[in-house]
Amino acid sequence: MNILADRIHLIERLAKGWAIFRQNLLGKIGLTLMIIFALMALASFFTPFLGPTYDPMTGVDPEISHATGPSWRHWLGTDFIGRDIFTQLLEGAKIAFMVGLSAAFISIVLGTIVGMLSGYLGGVMDTLLMRLADMIMVMPSLLILLLLAALFGQLNIWLIVLLIALLRWPGVSRIIRAQTLTLKQRPFIEAAKVAGASHLRIIFRHIMPNVLPLSFLYMTFRVTSAILVEAALAFLGFGDPSQVSWGMMLQWVWKTGHMFQAPYWLLPPGICISLLTLSFYMLGRAMDEVLDPRLRKEEHSG
């Protein structure tokens, strides 16, 4: 019975959250944009059906082998060796989602665990972890990744994802730690301790559920920075050469000197990167309002 009441309560909260979210202009724009890009990413799974000429990486159109503008055959034109730009764009969407979501997910898992441990255990552990977090947080991630690329050669895309996550978890951990500190004082934690719960159980069974909404909120911001960092790395030529990401597309435009002659090639990837990061950021801000009642607008219309 207890579980049923919990579930109903949860659904009520979600519904209320959704109502607030819907009123938020930023949230609506963000969600719309994200759905468009998600559709693009899904569409990229179907491009193989168009035939080998449309493959983003190797699909060279035999009749066109240089950069051309938009046409009926190639909606956004072709790049410098005749590959279709539109399919490249779709593929880039898939990669952006992949990189963004996985890097963000790993970093909030790390950050949440560190934050909870740090806040709950306190003492030397706390100081050490937070100092470590500070140290990592102030370092410019792109430059670190560059240096690693220099030392270890071309980085595989999943390695890039992991490295981004390792460099980004500190931001989340501070917030989670603060939240854990306040939760630690609450009576229900006392009660659990008295009932004989072990530390681990308290952390994962009692503190974590209350801290998770915050984690997910910050996941959206992690996605934005992950996408931007991966794009920058690819742009500079240190990304995974087997992946056609938007940053890679920009690198090709730049390096082959087509920046001024081929706006149909230069514009789409950059716009996509910016819009996708924008949409996640807007979503994050809207969710922020849902979670933090102080930020909501005072006037509620209907």
């Binding site: 930023l26 410019p140 270890f152 920046m259 950059g270 910016s274 950021y281």
Partner: protein, 325 residues
């Protein structure tokens, strides 16, 4: 007195952190695939030069001795010789550093000022159309992809309209001519700086605007604002002297925190515009496998970031007595 203790403690922390970074670089360098000796030694050198560098860097010694050599070299300012330029790395760094400082500090200061100014107005007009537009514009600017935006500016303002040069920091014709005096040279540099400056300014301003706006929204709810109004002060005075003053404080700390992002953006901007600064040298050095230069640039940037954070912390402690500890 508290401030002095605070500063000393932070200096010590920074020294430790920097030391850790040095060590990590040392370890990474040895861990990476390939021969560490080959990485520091230019294949074009004569055997005597190779011998000299090996003994200087202690590459033929056991690991612990190498580490000591490494630290000694670093502290004495010997960073090795760049492969690409064939010059000692320190010369290159001293030559490039002013360019980066010029571009970076100008853009950051301008962006912070503009961001605080407009963020203050946006928060004041919350809910109205002007606020919505300002916020959305700031959001767009904040999430812009820096290299793409830089390329767009070059394309439109440099190539199509021809108002600004496409890259570099100077036009050789201007500087080689004996008749040009200092103001003309300065103007030339400024002319070249406009596009990179605009790129960095726009992107950073977005961030500062958003920050100031959130900070201000929080401040406006405080009791002392009600008091100020009750005292009969004009709205403008309340906004500028009471609310904005206090709201600006968190923005100052975040200049330090956001330095990491700004430096990323700065390095990308310098690369696209081939602005001869530390960021561009780092990127190009990595591309050329020029390890001595890359390592030195990175360490320099790390030092700058740590120092900047120290300055920001001290400034904040000075401005807000509540947090001195």
């Amino acid at each position: 007195m508290e401030i002095k203790k605070f500063i000393l403690r932070r200096l010590l922390e920074i020294a430790i952190i920097f030391f850790v970074i040095l060590t990590i670089l040392f370890v990474l360098f040895r861990l990476a695939p390939g021969d560490p000796v080959a990485r520091m030694v230019d294949p074009m050198w004569t055997p005597e030069e190779v011998e000299h560098v090996i003994s200087q860097l202690g590459l033929d010694q056991p690991i612990w001795t190498q580490y000591l050599y490494y630290l000694k070299n670093f502290l004495s300012g010997n960073f090795g010789v760049s492969f690409h330029y064939g010059e000692p790395v320190e010369n290159i760094i001293w030559d490039r550093l002013p360019n980066t400082i010029l571009l970076f500090t100008t853009s950051t200061i301008l962006a912070a000022l503009a961001g605080v100014f407009f963020g203050k107005i946006a928060a004041w007009r919350k809910g109205r159309k002007s606020d919505t537009w300002m916020t959305i514009s700031a959001l767009v600017c904040h999430t812009l992809f820096v290299p793409w935006f830089a390329l767009m500016l070059v394309w439109i303002l440099g190539y199509k309209v021809g108002w600004f040069p496409l890259n570099g920091i100077i036009s050789p014709e201007v500087w080689v001519n004996e008749n040009t005096n200092f103001p003309m040279k300065a103007l030339d540099v400024l002319h070249h700086m406009m596009l990179p400056l605009m790129t960095l300014f726009v992107v950073q301003m977005g961030s500062y605007l958003l920050l100031m706006r959130s900070s201000m929204l929080g401040t406006l709810k405080e009791d002392y604002i009600v008091t100020a109004r009750a005292k009969g002060l004009t709205e403008k005075v309340v906004r500028n002297h009471h609310a904005a003053r206090n709201a600006a404080l968190p923005v100052i700390t975040s200049i330090g925190l956001s330095l990491a992002f700004s430096i990323n953006g700065g390095a990308l901007t310098e690369t696209v515009f081939t602005w001869p600064g530390i960021g561009k040298e780092l990127v190009f050095a990595v591309g050329n496998n020029d390890y001595p230069l890359a390592q030195a640039c990175f360490l320099l940037i790390a030092a700058v970031v740590l120092t900047a954070n120290l300055i920001v912390d001290v400034l904040y402690a000075y401005l807000d007595p509540r947090i001195r500890y």
